[in-house]
């Protein structure tokens, strides 16, 4: 009898999850015979390679703790979660979980389009292992949470996709479990509903449920999890508090992108030498992708200075000066004026003009202001070998808070020469008690 190895956590221990040197391999077929001849001859049928996706992972999770598994695509984190839910089984090692497990990997499992929302709640919840009585007790909560009261007796096929997901999520999140395993699903519905889901997650956590999350949304991991595990190439690369693990992971991702860019640039330079030698606009062929919004947000989170670009022009020095005392500073009153000084060197003689941009973002992610020389002056700045750019902000007009300034030199909106995110962090204080996000120039006239 090949029963699943039963494993137990000692009842005295307060561990909810124990993962012990878990290894998992997949068979990767090089060429699965597709043609009739190959199938008949069984040619290449057994031509495969074992790929180890998990190479020995161990950790324990205490009861009531929340952990986040992070890592790039294909690093094995989702596989690990599947092993924990017992959808798959490890080739080596074992995983023990104490208590009832509920997994939010697939939403809306077993939904039947022709049946009503209410009937589907019963089907879906039963798949999570709830009994009829348990579902009866929860059904009102589920319906309330989904905000679909008036539609709940309509067939699910008449639902919009957002409604569908809301219903599915409501069922999943109302399954009371001792251990909750979640794979990348908090991105459901509109912002309002997402916030609601998020609060519910916190509530579940505060009720003592142990949670394991696989996510690319690093801010969610940071906000919910007590511990983060960065999985790289099938092993745990870093573990610890999300605040320390996530920046390391981000740095690695960034440096990896840099390496890819560098390689791409080298290739392009080789191409250039071969084909077009005297083309002045050569650098416009170099495509360096800008970071997308999500990545930028992540960088903001870490608060660390992150730079990228091909450095045909390089920002070598920058500082912010408080004009009220003419000193380099990061502390300002909202009525102070500021001057930003940026020095650059030209590394590539073929580049002769560029655009300088600045962005001011509040620490909670609100973009306050962004502009560039092209918008303000209508033309690019012509470059010198060593140059200096000065920007006066008179007065600052920002209200109390922490702000971050990003600076960049780019060619129009094309290739990035040098961009520094989180270049300057400044804090603004307000001596008066007026309040808001922005202080317009104003004066009162009372007649």
């Amino acid at each position: 009898m090949n029963d699943i190895k039963s494993c137990n956590i000692e009842s005295a221990s307060d561990n909810a999850i124990e993962v012990r040197t878990v290894k998992k391999k997949f068979k990767v077929f090089f060429d699965k015979g597709q043609s009739l001849k190959e199938i008949v001859l069984f040619k290449n049928r057994n031509h495969y390679e074992n790929r180890w996706v998990l190479k020995g992972i161990s950790f324990t999770v205490k009861k009531g703790e929340a952990i986040g598994l992070i890592g790039e695509n294909g690093c094995g984190k989702s596989t690990l979660l599947k092993l924990m839910t017992k959808i798959m089984y490890p080739d080596y090692g074992d995983i023990c979980i104490k208590g009832r497990v509920s997994s939010l990997i697939e939403l809306g499992a077993g939904f039947h389009p022709d049946m009503s929302g209410r009937e589907n709640i019963y089907i879906n919840a039963s798949i999570f292992g709830l009994t009829r009585k348990e579902i009866d007790n929860r059904i009102q909560n589920i319906i309330d949470f989904s905000e679909l009261e008036e539609f709940v007796d309509n067939p699910v096929r008449t639902y919009s996709s957002g409604m569908y997901m809301r219903l599915a999520f409501s069922v999943a999140i109302n399954v009371d479990a001792d251990v909750l395993l979640i794979d990348e699903i908090l991105a459901v519905g509109d912002a309002n509903f997402q916030a609601k889901c998020f609060n519910k997650m916190r509530e579940i956590k505060s009720n003592g449920t142990t949670i394991a999350i696989v996510s690319h949304a690093l801010n969610q991991v940071e906000q919910i999890c007590d511990k983060a595990y960065w999985i790289k190439d099938g092993i745990i690369e870093e573990q610890g508090e999300p605040r320390t693990v996530i920046p390391k992971y981000m740095n690695w991702i960034m440096s990896k992108e840099d390496r890819i860019e560098l390689k791409r640039n080298e290739e392009l330079i080789e191409d250039k030498n071969e084909i077009i030698i005297n083309d002045k606009n050569i650098e416009s062929h170099q495509e360096i992708e800008e970071l997308d919004q999500d990545e930028l947000k992540e960088i903001r989170k870490t608060g660390q200075e992150v730079e990228y670009g091909n450095k045909n022009i390089e920002i070598v020095n920058y500082k912010l000066i408080n004009l009220s005392n003419n000193q380099s500073s990061i502390k300002f009153s909202c009525e102070d004026s500021a001057k930003l000084e940026v020095e650059y060197v030209l590394n590539n003689e073929m580049v002769d003009e560029a655009m300088f941009s600045i962005a001011i973002t509040r620490s909670d992610g609100v973009m306050c202001y962004t502009t560039n020389t092209l918008i303000d002056t209508g033309k690019n700045i012509s470059l010198k070998k060593n140059g200096r750019i000065e920007l006066f902000i008179e007065p600052l007009q920002l209200m109390q808070g922490e702000y971050i300034i990003d600076i960049s030199l780019t060619k129009d909106y094309g290739p990035i020469y040098h961009c520094i995110c989180n270049a300057i962090k400044l804090s603004v204080y307000n001596a008066k008690s007026d309040y808001g996000i922005f202080k317009p120039n104003h004066k009162w006239i009372i007649k």
Binding site: D3, M88, G110, H112, D114, S126, I127
Partner: protein, 258 residues
């Protein structure tokens, strides 16, 4: 034993899958649930025309003789050929959610079983119309035969559902096998028409004693022989054991293979 507790915890899933299957099956069709009865009746009409009207086999009230065997056969056939699809057809569930994998074949067989029980209503109506009448003492044995057949069908479904995951050709092979199997089982004819030298082969067929028992109870109005019942139960338990062991061995790799 752990599996029984787990299946008990997941009983609502089994029931709701059965409900969904029975209700969802004819959803959208005009006649709806009525097809549950109409389908076997139409098949009965076809077989009756071929074997009673054209071939003239001389069996008294052949339609009843046939029908009491045909309905249980449909149950068996559904478990066998339908069973091939009950894991691979639920890919999204199997690869994404944990639940005891046994739930799938069990709920499939249960749904076929409930379908058969509903058809027994039609059988009783036909028994009534035909004037054959009912032997109450014999009818008491009917649930016993149902349970026996359920055990057998579950075993068959365990095998068919799990092996198909790794050997997809089985689905097509079983299409033919089930047809051959029907003709090798005394459904359309009586066991007495089988040449004696082949009868031991028929006795290895687990469906033979089951069909015989149904026919004894409903057509011949006699209590089935204890030896026939034990024979059926014995084969059923063997098949269920083999089926469960096979399923249990293969189920760990379902998610990877799908």
């Amino acid at each position: 034993m752990k599996i029984f507790k787990e299946l008990y915890d997941y009983r609502e899933m089994i029931f709701s899958l059965v409900r969904k299957d029975l209700r969802g099956r004819y959803k959208g069709s005009v006649l709806g649930f009525f097809w549950t009865f109409l389908n076997p009746l139409l098949q009965l009409a076809i077989y009756n025309i071929v074997f009673a009207t054209i071939l003239k086999n001389g069996i008294d009230k052949y339609y009843l003789f046939l029908f009491v065997a045909l309905i249980p056969w449909f149950f068996f056939n559904g478990s066998l050929t339908g069973g091939t699809n009950c894991i691979i057809g639920q890919k999204s569930l199997i690869t994404k959610i944990y639940f005891p994998r046994e739930v799938m074949p069990i709920s499939h067989v249960l749904s076929c079983f409930v379908n058969m029980l509903l058809c027994f209503v039609v059988i009783f109506i036909i028994v009534g119309i035909s004037g054959v009448g009912i032997n109450i003492l014999a009818i008491i044995f009917l649930p016993l035969v149902w349970v026996t057949q359920f055990i057998l069908c579950l075993g068959i479904c365990f095998i068919a559902s799990s092996v198909t995951v790794f050997f997809r050709d089985l689905e097509h092979i079983l299409g033919i096998v089930s047809m051959a199997w029907m003709y090798m089982t005394p459904v359309m004819y009586g066991i007495e028409s089988v040449p004696p030298k082949y009868s031991f082969l028929f006795m290895l067929n687990p469906m033979t004693p089951i069909i015989q028992s149904y026919r004894d109870i409903l057509y011949y109005k006699t209590v089935p022989q204890v030896s026939t019942l034990l024979h059926a139960l014995f084969l059923g338990i063997i098949i269920l054991s083999i089926g469960y062991l096979t399923f249990n061995k293969l189920k760990k790799h379902f998610a990877e293979e799908l």
